[in-house]
């Protein structure tokens, strides 16, 4: 469904934008030719492997590598001694290689390079590590208690006045909001207050981390790796290895999923250090177990949410406290959780507090709308309960309170044009909304918000002599962006999509590009692509002017052709891009367009999801039977990939809601480091995930684009929890709603009911 409003951007008549051509990387991917991280090889390559801590928390007393180094075939071992202290990357340094302590099960303590994987594995066993095991803490609430085992002796909570005198596991306190919540609750007729917990979930990308590093004797490095941001990887690695940024060239491979988890370094600095030590290329690939134990899942959380409303459904106050553990180092996404929690609502009185907590788990990495889904799960569950108490339809209740243009957001700024109301209206209008439910089925609805970032972006567009276009972007393609960029370039230049070939260039070829994160690529790289195309068009027009011997201003670009701007300019046959490109050598040389900028004007994306779940009351098994995801895309450049993003977020949300969790034993060891027991949904677990694209143009983008990649994972857990609760007749406040938990709740209710 397209919601075309009076906006001139929406009224624009696009020629190729909005169509659904085949992606340029599609054939390679379905035929197996695409080269992912582990597909890169080099002559003389060594195999690198990592020795990891079996302890959740221990002093690292000593590491003896002598026996490993004596093993034939072993070429080098690196440990903490091979990396200099680095104040700027203090935590990253300690995460890639333990220094004073190991802080989680799976924490790297040494890495070896050998002539084969077999030798490398043997060598790992020969590395002798002496640990002094310390008490550990896994749960976020336990970690916050006084007397909990301390991970960092010097961690003084920031954001608290006065500053605490003693160390704790709380890295920082955040607070957002406005108005007076006490006053607001006093005005409420109904108040709902609940506690919630969510488990740590992994991004679950199918491709494990992999890289190939090559370091030459003159101090130059090359790195091929699967990453969402090769410029960021270059920065981390150059820093950790103490080298000039310009001497390290990083090339991003095709990527088999990242979802935020491939925005930092794990193996890359180790591979470079091993290559520097041996003078040979070193390839490293994580096993699935390593991915789970040592890369970043997102935070597990604990929260309390309180919302008050009048009888007619006006929310008078919203208050929440969020406690997120982000693993062994500061930096959980609690700040974003606290910011996004009430973003869907125009509230007079709102207050959110967030605590960033450390525990003996792997350092969290970003995961699709980092921090927001857990907060939305809690808040949207309470909104649903409020709707039931007030006997108001949950969509109506949201419409009564929905944030709109001009409302002050719960985190401060005033919203520009946004599309939450449109997603709610589209939900109400959808056939699913009034479809009958079967026995043991329940329907749940939830809305969600996520920001959209701009950031540093650099794009280069080269017009080739045959009239085709080579487009180089620096943001790894994690969701079909090469297709989207090609569509925007083709639209702007007035040529066919097939005439544009987009690539992801290496770090030496373009200016700095921020990571493919924050739903920014289609917006920011798209904006840069459009500007680069416009710059190229200026040159194309200038070349035509030169040939026609008229002033440059007298030439305009229309429908893929340079033509005289008016009757006064002269009478010349319009020249196509190909016509001008063919003779470029005679008119001044190659024609290119560039754009380097910090993209601003990003527009937020809201979504509303609706889901039907069937619960087996005898086993506690919940099965999603119908799903509709409605989201504002601003303008869908390639609708199939926009729908794919909505579906991907929903699918990951289903897993997070129902079965995914990090399970630790009493020793703090991860019990389920594999896809057998870390249960992401399989295909048959999901119904067709229906989508509705709402288009409320973003005024900050020439085509109206909003980033869509992340918002789709914000509403699912709440929507599913609302559906499960409706189907089972019990309110579920803890994720995952796995069968043992759900059955226990159902049985407890039965027992209470019959008592």
């Amino acid at each position: 469904m397209l919601d075309k409003t009076k906006d001139p951007v929406a009224e624009r008549d696009f020629k190729v934008v909005g169509t659904r051509p085949v992606r340029p990387d599609g054939v390679d991917k379905v035929t197996g030719r695409a080269r992912f991280g582990a597909d890169i090889s080099a002559p003389g390559m060594l195999v690198g492997k990592v020795k990891r801590s079996p302890h959740a928390h221990a002093k690292l007393v000593s590491i003896d590598t002598e026996k490993a180094l004596a093993l034939p075939g072993v070429k080098a071992v690196v440990t903490r001694d091979d990396f200099a202290e680095n104040k700027k990357q203090c935590d990253v340094l300690r995460n890639i290689m333990a220094r004073e302590k190991v802080l989680y099960d799976g924490h790297a303590v040494a890495a070896v390079a050998a002539t084969s994987a077999t030798v490398a594995r043997k060598a790992l066993k020969l590395i002798e590590v002496e640990y002094d095991v310390l008490p550990h803490v896994i749960d976020v609430d336990e970690a916050m208690k006084p007397g909990a085992p301390l991970l960092h002796d010097d961690m003084i909570t920031k954001g608290v006045d006065p500053e605490p005198e003693t160390a704790s596991n709380i890295a920082q306190r955040y607070e957002f909001g406005h108005g007076d919540v006490e006053k607001g609750f006093a005005e409420a007729d109904v108040v709902v207050e609940r506690d919630f917990k969510t488990a740590a979930a992994h991004q679950g990308y199918i491709e494990p981390h992999a890289c190939l590093a090559s370091f030459t004797p003159d101090g130059q490095g090359e790195l091929w790796c699967c990453t969402q941001g090769h410029y960021a990887i270059r920065g981390f690695c150059a820093d950790l290895l103490g080298m000039d940024i310009s001497k390290l060239r990083v090339t991003a491979s095709e990527i088999g999923g990242g979802f935020g988890g491939k925005t930092t370094v794990f193996l890359e600095p180790l591979a470079l250090a091993l290559s520097r030590k041996t003078g040979r290329p070193v390839k490293m690939v994580m096993s699935r177990e390593e991915v789970f134990r040592a890369s970043g899942p997102t935070a597990s959380t604990s929260s309390r949410v309180k919302v008050g409303a009048t009888k007619d459904g006006k929310i008078t106050a919203g208050e929440a406290e969020f406690r997120y553990q982000g693993g062994a180092f500061k930096g959980s996404p609690v700040q974003f959780g606290a910011m996004c929690a009430f973003a869907c609502y125009a509230l007079e009185n709102v207050k959110t507090v967030g605590y960033d907590v450390v525990t003996n788990r792997p350092k969290q990495a970003a995961y699709r709308a980092p921090g927001a889904p857990m907060a939305a799960f809690a808040v949207e569950s309470v909104i649903e309960e409020l709707a039931v108490e007030l006997s108001i339809d949950p969509v109506e209740l949201r419409l009564i309170n929905a944030a709109e243009e001009g409302d002050q957001s719960s985190f401060g700024p005033t919203f520009p044009r946004i599309g939450l109301v449109e997603t709610l209206e589209a939900t109400k209008a959808h056939e699913h909304f009034s479809a009958p439910l079967g026995p043991n089925q329940g329907r749940g609805i939830a809305s969600g918000y996520w920001f959209n970032f701009g950031g540093a972006t650099s794009v280069s567009l080269n017009i080739q002599p045959d009239g085709t276009v080579a487009l180089a972007v620096g943001t790894p393609d994690i969701g079909g962006s090469r297709a989207s960029m090609s569509l925007m370039a083709a639209e702007e230049l007035g040529i066919a999509y097939e005439k544009v070939k987009a690539i992801v260039a290496d770090t030496a070829s373009l200016g700095y590009n921020e990571v493919s994160h924050g739903s920014r690529v289609t917006f920011a790289s798209g904006l840069a692509t459009i500007e680069a195309a416009r710059n190229a068009k200026k040159i194309l027009c200038a070349r035509a002017a030169k040939m026609w011997e008229i002033p440059e201003e007298a030439v305009e670009w229309v429908d893929g052709h340079a033509r005289p701007a008016g009757a006064n300019a002269g009478d010349f046959e319009p020249m196509s891009l190909a016509d001008i490109a063919k003779v470029a050598e005679q008119t001044g040389g190659p024609i290119s367009g560039h754009q380097e900028h910090n993209a601003s004007g990003a527009g937020a994306s809201f979504a509303t999801h609706m889901v039907d779940v069937e619960v087996d009351p005898e086993t506690g098994r919940a099965h999603v039977v119908r799903y509709t995801a409605v989201q504002d895309a601003g303008k869908a450049i390639h609708p199939s990939y926009v729908e794919g993003q909505f579906q991907g977020g929903a699918a990951q949300g289903v897993g997070w809601a129902l079965n995914e969790e990090y399970i630790y034993n009493d020793d703090g060891r991860l019990e389920n480091p594999g896809f057998l027991d870390y249960r992401i949904p399989v295909c048959s677990d999901l119904p067709m995930l229906d989508t509705v694209i709402v288009e409320v143009p973003n005024p900050g983008h020439p085509y109206g684009v909003r980033g869509v990649g992340e918002t789709g994972i914000v509403p699912p857990m709440a929507a599913i929890a609302n559906a499960v609760s409706a189907a089972a007749g019990v309110r579920m406040t803890e994720l995952p709603m796995s069968p043992p938990k759900l059955l226990k709740a159902i049985n407890a209710k039965k027992a209470n009911g019959s008592a």
């Binding site: 177990e289 005898e618 086993t619 057998l676 027991d677 048959s684 069968p739």
Partner: protein, 285 residues
């Protein structure tokens, strides 16, 4: 590690009997390869039995079927005769892994891996199946119940190989069924498994029954009390409730990452009841 793929059973037995260190039999490999890759096991010798012709066959025998140890789940599933006689055993075997895994996985391998959660084993136990074992001392037959002695442990002696599973003949008006609980829809490991086999008389009264549970104890269980409460009934609600109670009572599960004691005990009763209903419907024809 030494890998051998002999073409005769004698050669396979000799290799295993003469092995110096740890030796493993490779049938489908869907458990063994996973264990090798994870480093959980480091055998010195792996003997692949898939090249031995006689182990790749399904043969009719005494009104039942003998299923070779190298017959894959996919092959079993395509066998009309076995499907008709023991549908519960076939459906249990077909639940193992994914479509790709089905092309490799075998019932005998599932049995010898000795996981209490093995899907095909409760169905085989309910079917009163027999395992034929060949070793340095000759051939012996044993109840499938007696092959696994605990998680990962078997009663097989040095050099012994399970070469076939025998599913016996059964009276007309018989049926069996297997159900398992997994949180997902496929590609998972049973949190609870339940198999029921029943035979009915002409009036539809149950005259024989076997009830077996997986993943609720250190070994797959045969629940005699569950059979007792079905026999003599037409599987009315009371009988089914009694079966559920008997199944739950027989459980001695553990708490682990896949489920709690409470959950497994509860769900064992539910699944036994549901499996019995399906077996009953199949028996009625």
């Amino acid at each position: 590690m030494q890998y051998e793929a002999p073409q005769t059973l004698d050669a396979a037995v000799a290799l295993l009997a003469d092995a110096r260190g740890a030796a493993r039999v490779l049938a489908g490999g869907t458990d063994l390869l996973v264990q090798l890759r994870s480093g959980a096991i480091e055998p010195d010798l792996v003997v692949d039995i898939k090249r031995i012709d006689e182990l790749k066959k399904i043969t009719a025998e005494d009104g039942g079927y003998r299923i070779g140890a190298a017959v894959s789940g996919a092959e079993l599933g395509e066998h009309e005769g076995v499907r008709a006689l023991w549908p519960g055993v076939v459906e249990a075997t077909e639940l193992i892994g994914s479509t790709q895994v089905q092309g490799r996985a075998t019932m005998a391998g599932n049995l010898c891996n000795a996981s209490p959660a093995a899907d095909s084993v409760p169905a085989m136990v309910a079917a009163d199946a027999t395992a034929r074992i060949v070793g340095p001392d000759g051939v012996r037959d044993t109840s499938v119940r007696d092959v696994a002695t605990g998680p990962g442990q078997t009663s097989l002696g040095r050099g012994e190989i399970v070469v076939s599973i025998f599913l016996p003949a059964r009276p007309a008006r018989s049926g069996d069924a297997y159900l398992r609980f997994i949180p997902r829809t496929e590609m998972d490991i049973a949190v609870v498994g339940a198999a029921v086999s029943v035979s009915l008389d002409d009036e539809g009264t149950c005259v024989a029954a076997r009830v077996s549970l997986g993943a609720v104890a250190a070994r797959v269980l045969l629940v005699d009390e569950g059979a007792r409460v079905l026999i003599g009934t037409k599987l009315d609600d009371d009988a089914l409730q009694a079966l559920a109670a008997a199944a739950s009572a027989a459980c001695s599960p553990i708490n682990d990452k896949r489920g709690t004691i409470e959950f497994r005990t509860d769900v064992a009763g539910v699944l036994a009841r549901r499996a019995a209903q399906t077996a009953f419907e199949r028996a009625k024809g």
